[in-house]
Symmetry: C2
Amino acid sequence: MSTAGGRARTEQPIERSLHQRIRADIEDRILSGAWSPGHRIPFEHELMAQYGCARMTVNRVLSSLVEAGLIERRRRAGSFVRRPVGQSAVLRIPDVKAEVLARGETYRYELLSRARRRATREDRGRIAVAAGAPVLALLCRHVAEDRPYALEDRLIALDSVPEAAAADFAAELPGTWLLRHVPWHEAEHTIVAAGADAAIAEKLAVPVGTACLVIERRTWRSDQPITAVRVWYPGDRQKLVARFTPSTDAGAGR
Amino acid sequence: MSTAGGRARTEQPIERSLHQRIRADIEDRILSGAWSPGHRIPFEHELMAQYGCARMTVNRVLSSLVEAGLIERRRRAGSFVRRPVGQSAVLRIPDVKAEVLARGETYRYELLSRARRRATREDRGRIAVAAGAPVLALLCRHVAEDRPYALEDRLIALDSVPEAAAADFAAELPGTWLLRHVPWHEAEHTIVAAGADAAIAEKLAVPVGTACLVIERRTWRSDQPITAVRVWYPGDRQKLVARFTPSTDAGAGR
DNA sequence: AAGTGGTCTAGACCACACC
DNA sequence: GTGTGGTCTAGACCACTTA
């Protein structure tokens, strides 16, 4: 072909380059959940046909998705949507259950309370749902070796995740349940230190005023709020580690 | 050329592909400081000549370095090493001074103590220097509106940063000074909540036992320890925010 | 054996910025 | 204008994996 490079520009003169458009298409389908983890995305030759472009172009897109950690590729098999990693490679938010079990301690989880209600003013400060939208409020306690380990105060937006209303959160950790039902969401963590007030202290079986690490995580999926959770860890027992290399934050790298 | 694709494999049969090798070369030079921020890296045609490869290959490498946030590229001008961003795009470690000034409050900084010594056992637990290696120990207080705001307890490895011995840390924040002298380092943050003990409480002018957010940052440059700093924030006054999108953690993305 | 991804080439046109 | 990066092509060889 003689008009090699100019083609894409000529055909999509609006804004994005072809590979950006392809990447956005695939990324949207993954992040929206249309292609859930494990889904095989089209082969390179299929994408070539679909977008009418060279293999190098789709290959470049798929490679960048690998770097971003969104997909994995296996020869002869194809390219697959990855299961989202813990939360992030950089900030290791502790998976309480896994860590406790890893230390060889017993782990138990208790659902202290569960309430379905229309979002109160305070709820709406934590999770950006519409006024009066239904939410599920959960209070859970993680117990290691029969000692309270962490307290989890969670709201779930039922408009976004209606199936949560019927889930049995006494049997399955809300976090685990949500990860199975709503993979690939965006998250924001806020981390503060606070002294335990009377109510918290009692449930954690620590003195009032004990310094706690409070991690609040709010998650969305394409601008729809999913959940807001506030976890109280007695401070000396839990720490967060975040590690940054200037480059290679996300992915395979080298 | 007839033996198109096989070339790199044939010439570097050991392990890495050509573009990985080129990327590693450039990345090492940036992270080691050989090419400091602002440095213009070779033009694509120069790299082509140097590695004897096609332009597409070096272009791919440079594009990935842009995505990783290591370089920026300007048409007609060239490609340049970027200045490292604050700390990380994901975890916003507060720049105390900037935040205080942004609120329109007065800011002051006090160097409470400065000592040059051979690393003690405790020092070596914080910063992995050799036994007896010289370290600079600083204790600083950040003051907003004449109220103590945060306490900074820092060690600097003088073997790695000998110029620090002569720096005037009463005049310039150690963090700022280090960023100017040692850009592009690897960092690890550990975040815990702790109650202020008597010494800390007195210097922060808060009651003993006040819940504080303690952020410890340790930084290296190619496995050489640079500094270890522990910052105490009275808990209610400071919070950390970390935001993750599953994809596009690092870079330009979209 | 066949089909997938991994990598590379040699060339092309374009946009853009600076001269 | 001139030279940089931005993008794309059409084809190639290879390695690996699975059938």
